[in-house]
Every structure is written in C-alpha cells, then in structure tokens.
Symmetry: C2
Subunit: 342 residues, 2 copies
C-alpha cells in the first residue's frame, strides 16, 4: 500500500518533490500546504504544473493546496504519516512549523539546512523539536545534498575504512551558471562588491548549512570542537562573464567562496569545508580528503547535482525516517538513505 504523504511548502524544490513522488507508486500525496495567495485554494496539479495525462496528475487534481496544516489534514482522504517540509533554510522560521507537524503525529523530512544538525548552533530549537517528536512518537530529519550528503554523510562514510583520521577536508565547486535562476541570485552573481558585503552583513546571505555539517561530522567522529568558524567571501570577476540570464562586469561578483572549519581544544583544525559556488566555475567537483591512516580521497567528478539530488535525498530518506526511533535525527544516525525501486 502506498504511504500517504503531505507536502509543506510549494516553492521550486517542494514542487519538484511532489512531481517526483506523484510519478512513483509507493507514495501518495494526500495533502499540500502553502499560504501564498497564488497557491492556496488551487489544485496541487495546477500549482506543481502537471498537465492532464502526466503520471499522478489525476491524484494531484483531487488535492487542493491549503493555507494551513490543519485545513489540509481536515481535507485529507487518508491521514498522512509523514510531512515533506520545504519552507525555509532557517530554524527560527521553521521550528513552530516542525513542532506543529510533530504534534499532529507526522514524521518529517525537511530541506531546512539549519535542521540538519541544530544541536550545536541552535540547541534550544533542537530541544523543542526533539521533545515534540518524542512526545508524538515521530522522527524529524533535515537533509539534502549539502547539508545531508557531500559534507557530512559522505565523509563520515569514508572514515569507515580509516584506522585513524587526523582531519577531514571537503571541497565542493559548483558552476552556478548551469543552475536555475534562483541559485544564481542566491550566490549574488552580477552584484557589486559593496552589495555583496551589505548582504553578507545581514547574516542570511551565502550558503546555509556548512557550519551544521562541521558540527555533525565533529560529533560523529567524537571530536570536541571548541570553535566552529565560517568565512564568506565574494568570488570576483576578473573578466566579463555573460550568459542568457546574468552579466557580470569585471570587479563585480560571480558568486560565493565560503569556508567553514572546526578546531579542537588543542587548536588543531580537524575539519575544513570549502564551498565555491559561482557562475563560470571551472571543473565542478566534490572531493573529500581524509588525513590519517590510510590517507583517503574520494571525488565526484562534475559534483553532485543540486536540485534533483536534493529532491532525491529527501524522498529517499522517507523510509528511514518512518522507521527511526522517535526524536530529532541526523542523517548519520540512520541506515544510509538509498534509492529504492518504486
């Protein structure tokens, strides 16, 4: 029998996840929530752009997007067992949503980057979510590609064949020029240096989740990290860059160059995660390097793709989250999420 799911948040990633799930036989989307005026009240098929005849279009036409979780639950033909949550990167915004979902008896898989490992940077919110989940006997997980895979699960997995590890380095280079418009905008492609520094000072610019991955890996490997640092710099154009949807003049910003690191009580830097995400980045790749015995290196040439892999990471984690012990979980606590034939 198909597992009934509810979708919370219908931005581009939420819409993509719904389309993927509707094309599978093992999940049913029995409800969807998005309060945006152009979404609430319309059919899910319309909102996610499913033509009549597309896989799952009939099912999606029978679901109306609702402005609140309780309205969606009241309208659902079957009670969902899990919510897919794709509303925001920030715990301050999503904590009430996650607590509400847990209170309604829903397991949750979320793309919220700060949720991937909130115990270090947001202990109060982590505790509130964990307590709500335990009270309800459900599990909550934040995952995706990064955080969720490239800079946490993958390096932790690689340490499994190491007799000792001195440090963990991950380099991820993404050519934002090959990605959808919002990502180019997110990394600041085309803005001035002045604007970059203004946004950086806001604290919500740049890629979210690096420091969470540092904290997750530190905890998984038993390192006490007394300092977790984060450094965000602009990648500046030396030559003009031009593509159909973005132009960057020399001296302006191509994207971000971001480093998060973890230092132990002896002052040794144990973890260093480096993310470069800018238009025109040459040689995109993900590389994990472990110093230790033996030294180990692992590369994903061209890098783990962004959006489709993020959607996949969320969908593939569903069975593990439903099976997990109640509480707020992290991706390294669970049997590895894997694709499974629908």
């Amino acid at each position: 029998m198909a597992t009934p799911i509810i979708q919370l948040g219908l931005g581009p990633i939420g819409q993509g996840i719904v389309r993927h799930i509707l094309a599978r036989r093992d999940y049913d989307v029995v409800g969807a929530v998005d309060p945006a005026p152009d979404k609430a009240g319309r059919s899910l098929a319309e909102v996610v752009g499913l033509e009549a005849g597309a896989p799952g279009a009939d099912a999606a036409r029978s679901v109306t997007v609702r402005a609140s979780l309780d309205e969606a639950l009241a309208a659902a033909s079957v009670a969902p067992v899990l919510a897919i949550h794709t509303t925001s990167s920030f715990l301050s915004q999503v904590t009430p949503q996650l607590v509400e979902a847990a209170d309604r008896g829903l397991n949750v898989v979320s793309t919220c980057e700060e949720l991937s490992y909130p115990f270090h940077h947001h202990p109060d919110q982590a505790r509130a979510i964990d307590e709500a989940a335990r009270r309800a006997g459900v599990s909550v997980l934040g995952t995706g590609v990064n955080p969720g895979f490239v800079m946490d699960l993958l390096p932790v997995c690689l340490t499994g064949v190491a007799a000792s590890v001195l440090s963990v380095h991950v380099d991820r280079v993404v050519d934002a020029g090959t990605r959808r418009g919002p990502l180019k905008k997110k990394v600041g492609a085309g803005i001035s240096l002045e604007e970059f520094h203004r946004r950086a000072a806001s604290g919500t610019f740049g890629h979210i989740g690096l420091v969470e991955s540092v904290a997750m890996v530190g905890a998984a490997l038993g390192w006490t990290l007394t300092r977790i640092t984060s450094d965000l710099r602009p990648k500046v154009a030396e030559e003009p860059y031009e593509s159909p949807d973005v132009r960057v003049a020399p001296g302006d910003v191509l994207g971000i160059d971001q480093v998060a690191a973890g230092v132990d009580p002896t002052g040794a830097e144990r973890i260093r995660f480096h993310l470069q995400m800018y238009v025109g980045a040459p040689d995109p790749h993900d590389t994990v390097r472990l110093e230790g015995n033996p030294p180990l290196e692992l590369t994903i040439p061209r890098g783990t793709p962004g959006d489709v892999a993020t959607m996949a990471a969320v969908i593939n984690a569903i069975p593990q989250v439903i099976e997990a012990a109640p509480g707020l979980r992290t991706v390294v606590d669970l049997p590895v999420p894997r694709w499974r034939r629908p």
Copy 2:
C-alpha cells in the same frame, strides 16, 4: 569504560586488528582464540608481535591465546561483549563458529566474505546464524573493504542522491604488486594458465564476496535479481613482470579479472561489479557509476587500500553492531560505520 573484546582467529588480519585495538583506549582485548599449534598457549603479545613498551603490550602479555572459545572465555578477566572473527572466507567453515559465539552471548563482527550477505547464496546458514543471534539477543555482521564498502555500502550511499537508478557499476583495480605476499599468492601471480584453470575449477579460488555484494545491493535497492553471475578469468602477462617476491613470465598469470553481475526478470543487467587484482595493474582505483537521474559517478583514486582499511572497517563497525537489533545484519542495515576518536 573500555569495551571488552575477544579475538577469534590470529592470521595476518586478526593480528593486525589486535594491534590496532590494543593501541586504542576504548577497547580491551580480554581473550584470543587460535588452535594453530604455533599460537595456542603463547601470549597474545608474542603472537601478534608486540615488543615490550609498544601500546597495549602489557595488556596483551596478560592474555594467553587459547585453542577454543570456551577455554578463552573461562580465562577472561572480564566477559567480552563482542567477538572479532577472522578465520575463513567461507560460511561452511565459519557457521559453527558464529553460532557458538552467539550462543555464548557474543556480538560478532567478522571478515568472512560470504557472511556479508548470505541470504541469497547460503540461506540455510544465514537462517542458522540469524536464529542463534536472535535467541541470544546479539548481532552478527560480516564486513570489510570488499565486501563491506567499495561494492555495496559506497554505491548504496551514492544512490541516496539519485531520483532514479537504472544500473550500478563498480570497477575496482588493485595493484597486487603493492600488497602483502599472501594476496599475490591469492590472486595467482606467477602461476601458469593451466594451474589457474585448475584452481578456478575448485570453486574456492578468486576473490570471495563479489556475488554477495551483488545480492546485497539488489536487495537494498529493491531489485529482484533472478540471476547472479560470476566470471573469473586470468589476467595474463604480455611482458615479463618481476618484483622482489614474484616473477611472471609472458603467458603466465598476473592475477585475476573477475566480474559479478545481477540480472532482473526482464533480462536487464542492473548490477555489474568488476574486480581486477593483479601484479603491475596500472592506475589502481575504485569507481562507482550509477546510470539514472541524475547519472552519478564517484572515484577513489588509487583505490581503497586493502589490509589496513579492512581492519579499520571491522573495528569501526563494533559500536553499530553492539547497538543493532539482534540478528544477522548487513552493513547497509546499520548507521554507517565511522572512525571514532578513541
């Protein structure tokens, strides 16, 4: 408090594991079993070649290697909670040993390749071990580098960011010339073609565990594999090969070239694992390729090293096996084994 461990089998890998564990603070080796006349009755420190003053040498001098598990348990200062088992690649030999260990209340991590996923090829032995483990409330796991990592855990982990998978390919190339003597011998470096075919016909020659990895990945991804094939060929020298400990004349054997594959009911080959292990192999590497959406590739340049990584895989799985639900487990059932600061 350190976790008390007992070592079953003191061949090269078992000895290496003991040396690694003795150098850590989180495990104590409280017993060791090997019936070989040159081992039983001697001190563990002597058998594993620990000089006085080496880490753990004092502890190892206080342990006498015994010929049987019951003798070792009777002599142990503390009851061990887990046995590390490194005696044989073949379930027919190890099943009674594993059942005995489970009956004595011991969790087990084993390097037995056929144990990594015995449910397909050895269902009766799998059931006997699983029942003994459940009866005793302990867990049993077979793991290592291959099987245990390169051709099962790693590709399954990579599918976690795939929205669909059509096939899984892994290529592993090992230069046996850089490995210890027994491995060169195991792959047949220097023997004639005639001798190769004679050994191949015995059914116990070649690398053990490839078909187990195929079955494990098939089950993890939900594919019904109606046929699992295995093909073992010699890698033949075209030019003379010479190293300090092996000479191969043209026309003789450098090592093995082995393929295991899994085919589904439609006749589609879903899984293809290719292992080349021979002296002088150029460009050693492990590469995982997934056909699907998105296509994904992952490479470990120079390849996952053999012995030290195997020992590490076993040691790193100990906490997961102790925590696991009782029964016969596989490496993809558990939270990923990881190195942890001792």
